[in-house]
Symmetry: C2
């Protein structure tokens, strides 16, 4: 077992985990109330909207969103049922499947984004100066990278 | 509507939200697999273990954990069923109710903490230097404070 956290590490960790958990809960609750979308729905829509051809291989989508294979399958199946996404065979080699954003998915994201990002600004961005935000970006890129 | 996020703000925000979401998912999955506890279970156990008399008023517990009244009721009811917590009338004025940590709750937390905190160290703390961790602590105290 690794050595235990110092009291300072533990205090900062608790502040972070409780506060970020609350932030996620608030974002999810407000997004669901306004649009019916979960945060995972929203992240899938954003990832696909940014991708060339609005399509991403299932495995790559799972990696991008750090979802397990079973979670990404469940997630995409749910979005297919709602018409936001469809599955197609991979365009390049015909092996494997891609998730493709539908026109309804594009419209849904376009309608959901302004209010969601206003909540993001009000509940997070507006509390940070530029330097703090840069540290957050750097730290969480490292955390994600492993 | 507030002005939209700048590209830099949006990029840092996406890195943060996707990475921290993945971190929460990993912590929740590993905690559940090892102990059967959810992260909310764990946070309730920690909050009660730190409190005088190992008891906190329901309303204060909801505020501490940023859970809505319906969420905290559901959460505590579930923990009562598992014997981790019990409810008692408030000791000072007899009005309202307190959540009280049981002996089983104490033991459960004691058994769960080392492996959970090892995951915390490995997936988060070890990636940060002292200054970055201090910024994280400061930023998320501000975010929580609102």
């Amino acid at each position: 077992m690794a050595e235990p956290l110092t009291p300072t590490q533990l205090a900062h960790w608790r502040t972070f985990i409780e506060s970020s958990w609350a932030l996620h809960t608030r974002l999810e609750d407000e997004l669901r109330a306004a649009t019916g979308l979960s945060m995972n729905d929203y992240h899938v829509l954003v990832a696909l909207a940014d991708a060339p051809g609005r399509r991403i291989r299932m495995g790559e989508l799972a990696t991008r969103l750090w979802l397990s294979p079973s979670r990404i399958t469940y997630q995409v199946t749910s979005m297919i049922k709602r018409g936001l996404v469809r599955k197609e065979n991979c365009s390049d080699d015909g092996r494997g499947q891609e998730a493709v954003l539908t026109d309804l998915g594009v419209r849904t994201l376009r309608e959901a984004a302004p209010a969601h990002l206003a909540t993001v600004r009000e509940s997070f961005i507006d509390h940070l100066d530029d330097e703090e935000l840069a540290v957050i970006g750097r730290v969480f890129a490292k955390v994600r990278g492993k």
